[in-house]
């Protein structure tokens, strides 16, 4: 093996002197020019002629992916997979997602920055960099700025490199011999590292186990489960009545269940059916009518359902002039509040189903009392 050097280090006192020396060292064309400094110096990458670091772009892309991941995941769990209303907010409230989106963005971005720098760009794991063996390293990690001319092939001339660095203003020059072993990862090292980690886990585990066993008062950490909190079906000293679960505040309304038709039937006469007359709506109305109304009011709403004979009271004949003249709102009111012997159907029917069945009753009335122009529509 020929006697070669790894590099020649030129030591400078100030970053400005280092920056000034870089163009001269590069012009000498004696080897690869590399700088070692205690902290990052702005503009040194351009001076060294390094390509623009791709790290910024990677961090931006991963940050955006992090934000979108957090948004998508939260939306999926809280609005798609298991829709649940929390704190009375609408399903999929983006405001509540923002803090977690922010955190995940930072997490993705910093991990990309840190790990990308170390492993992708700095090519770690890489042990025993030759410069670590130099005398100059104590200065590099403190207050000295080093410019290295590194050998690119066997023809590296360390004397010429040293002279070039001195000419560029280096206060001191050090010739680094070639390292005697590979700086790259070896299997022995991997085994030693894994063994060390295993041993550390073993010691910590045994220690924690025996300490908590013999000294149960010494808790290694305060568990989150031990904090005071309210449980839905357990007693609690927090509230006066001793229950953990409390009734909602009077006047609380569940989302999507705003009370309607709360006044008298006449007061509800002006309510307007919000649903359009579409086949979908009529299909819903027909289904509801068949399951909930038909047994009493009859298939065409003429008050002769199959259960009529079983009751003392006779169900309303919806085909009579009185009910044909009813505004939509009064029919709706009867569905919500019930009338005479008819019970309220509000607990079983959603807002949409109630109004759909109103449309369907209207259709039944129209079908039984068709006018000439209705026939024309059918004929066309």
């Amino acid at each position: 093996m020929p006697e070669t050097s790894y590099a020649v280090l030129g030591i400078f006192d100030t970053p400005n002197a280092l920056m000034a020396a870089i163009p001269k060292a590069r012009a000498a064309k004696l080897g690869a020019v590399e700088a070692y400094t205690p902290y990052p110096i702005h503009g040194i990458d351009e001076a060294l002629g390094l390509r623009k670091s791709p790290l910024g772009g990677m961090v931006l892309v991963m940050g955006v992916i992090g934000a979108l991941t957090a948004l998508g995941f939260q939306y999926w769990i809280s609005a798609v997979d298991y829709p649940i209303i929390t704190g009375g907010k609408p399903i999929g409230s983006w405001e509540a997602f923002i803090p977690i989106m922010f955190e995940v963005t930072v997490l993705f971005a910093t991990f990309t920055a840190g790990l990308g720098m170390l492993f992708l760009l700095n090519k770690l794991p890489f042990f025993g960099h030759p410069v670590l063996a130099s005398k100059a390293i104590t200065g590099i990690t403190r207050d000295r700025y080093v410019l290295a001319l590194e050998a690119e092939d066997e023809g590296f001339d360390s004397t010429a490199a040293a002279a070039a660095l001195r000419a560029a203003g280096a206060v001191e020059v050090e010739v680094l011999p070639a390292p005697d072993r590979s700086p790259f990862l070896t299997s022995a090292f991997i085994l030693r590292t894994l063994g060390g980690i295993f041993l550390a886990c073993l010691v910590a585990g045994v220690a924690i186990y025996s300490l908590t066993k013999w000294f149960p008062l010494l808790k290694p950490m305060v568990y989150m489960q031990d904090q005071p909190r309210l449980n839905a079906q357990k007693p609690s000293a927090f509230f006066k009545d001793g229950h953990g679960m409390q009734k909602p505040v009077p006047g609380t309304v569940a989302r999507g269940h705003l009370p309607t038709a709360v006044g008298s039937q006449d007061a509800s006469a002006n309510l307007v059916n919000p649903l359009p007359r579409t086949p979908d709506v009529f299909a819903v109305g027909k289904k509801v009518f068949t399951t909930r109304c038909e047994v009493c009011h009859g298939a065409v709403g003429n008050g002769s359902g199959s259960l009529t004979s079983a009751y003392g009271a006779k169900a309303a004949n919806l085909q009579s002039q009185q009910f044909r003249d009813y505004p939509d709102g009064k029919i709706y009111w009867a569905i919500v509040n019930g009338k005479n012997a008819m019970p309220s159907h509000a607990p079983y029917l959603s807002e949409r189903e109630r109004w759909a069945v109103v449309h369907y009753v209207r259709a039944l009335q129209r079908a039984q009392n068709a006018k000439d122009e209705d026939l024309k529509v059918v004929a066309r």
Binding site: P15, N16, H42, G43, G56, G87, E95, A96, I98, P99
Partner: protein, 382 residues
């Protein structure tokens, strides 16, 4: 400020035209709209001046060296506080018109009765006068001292400013909080937010930074400020970038907590601003004040690019105007008012502000030539 020597008559013309509209506003559109516009421009002038003074004080506080060569710019911008004070004194006339807490009915209002003394006209005025006095003290010590150092070259000023800077930070916090709470959130005295002062501070600091960056670029166009380079501009850009995030962080934190708690007296503030046409303004504010400048300045090179920085600085100043408009104008009604009164006020005040800054930029040295750290600041490299 502009290299064009003919700009001055143009600015005077704009001011004169605006003055006509300002007078017309009071006569034709009513005192409420007049005072709302007046307060808007008072707050804008005051926050721009105070934000600039904050930059000056920050430099002394942390003994920053990089900003010494450009320090004269925020110092000159901070003198905008001098015309802002008479504008503010005139604005005291708005208190009985626009501020519900200062009206006699407030004594019977269940929420305002307890705050009646604080919100009353006399105490409101006294507080404002105290704030103005504190600001003048800051101007005298930091700006006048620095100007006189040009001729005396006395390094004792640096020591004095360094000792005064921590005290000024406390003064600054009090003044910006008073201005924010009294003049802006006082318009809706039932509503309160602890962080409101910080929100207004973020906007004030951003507007000071944007104006500083713009003036540096304009002076560089005229081959002044020799030695100020991309590295200095980069630092201003980094501050701008960082504080757009800070502004949105504070703004969103305030919004999210109120949205979550959903208490009627708090959430009404946003209910108004998220209904109808205000909704569009709220969304565009988030875009113009945060998303656009954030992505415009996110890369390293963009902060050194004079063209990019100039555009972002103009955008930031515009966004600050929109921000203050968004805070003040919903009190006038559910529909955002923007018509000839607003345009005349803008002409009048922008003309006046530009004339003042233009005049300030012509006076004296462009750099603090007496500052012993100027050389170090000029040698600054990132």
């Amino acid at each position: 400020m502009s290299p064009n020597k003919n700009a001055s008559p143009l600015l005077w013309g704009a001011m004169a035209l605006g003055a006509l509209g300002v007078a017309g506003t009071y006569a034709a559109a009513g005192p409420e709209r007049f005072w709302a516009n007046w307060i808007l421009w008072f707050v804008l002038m005051f926050t721009l001046g105070l934000g600039s003074l904050f930059i000056v004080a920050l430099e002394h506080l942390v003994s920053a060296r990089w900003s010494v060569p450009v320090r004269r710019i925020p110092e000159r911008l901070a003198t905008l506080l001098l015309p802002a004070i008479p504008v503010g004194l005139i604005a005291l006339g708005a208190i009985p018109v626009l501020y519900p807490g200062a009206r006699p009915e407030a004594a019977h209002h269940p929420l305002l009765a307890g705050k009646a003394f604080w919100l009353s006209l006399p105490f409101f005025s006294v507080r404002t006068l105290i704030a103005f006095g504190l600001v003048l003290l800051g101007l005298v010590v930091l700006v006048k001292g620095s100007l006189s150092q040009d001729s005396t070259k006395d390094p004792a000023f640096n020591l004095r400013a360094r000792k005064f800077a921590p005290a000024f930070m406390a003064i600054f916090a009090v003044v910006i909080t008073l201005i924010a709470f009294d003049w802006i959130s006082g318009l809706t005295p039932e509503w309160y937010s602890d962080i409101f002062g910080v929100y207004v501070f973020a906007g004030a600091f951003l507007s000071g930074l944007a104006a500083t960056a713009l003036c540096v670029l304009h002076l560089q166009d005229q081959n002044r400020l020799e030695g100020v380079k991309g590295d200095h501009l980069y630092n201003l850009g980094a501050f701008l970038f960082g504080f757009t995030v800070f502004w949105s962080y504070i703004g969103f934190a305030q919004y999210m907590l109120m949205w979550y708690a959903n208490l009627p007296d708090e959430v009404i503030y946003y209910k108004v601003r998220l209904a109808g046409a205000w909704r569009a303004i709220t969304i565009s504010l988030a875009c113009l004040h945060f998303i656009l400048p954030f992505f415009a300045l996110v890369t390293r090179d963009s902060k050194k690019d004079p063209r990019r920085m100039r555009r972002v600085a103009y955008l930031m100043l515009g966004a600050h105007v929109l921000d203050m408009y968004w805070l003040i104008f919903p009190t006038l009604g559910a529909k955002p008012l923007f018509s000839w009164p607003e345009i005349s006020f803008a002409l009048f005040f922008i003309g006046g502000i530009l004339l003042w800054i233009r005049g300030a930029m012509q006076k004296g040295e462009d750099m603090p030539v007496g500052d012993p750290f100027l050389r170090e600041g000029l040698e600054f490299r990132l």
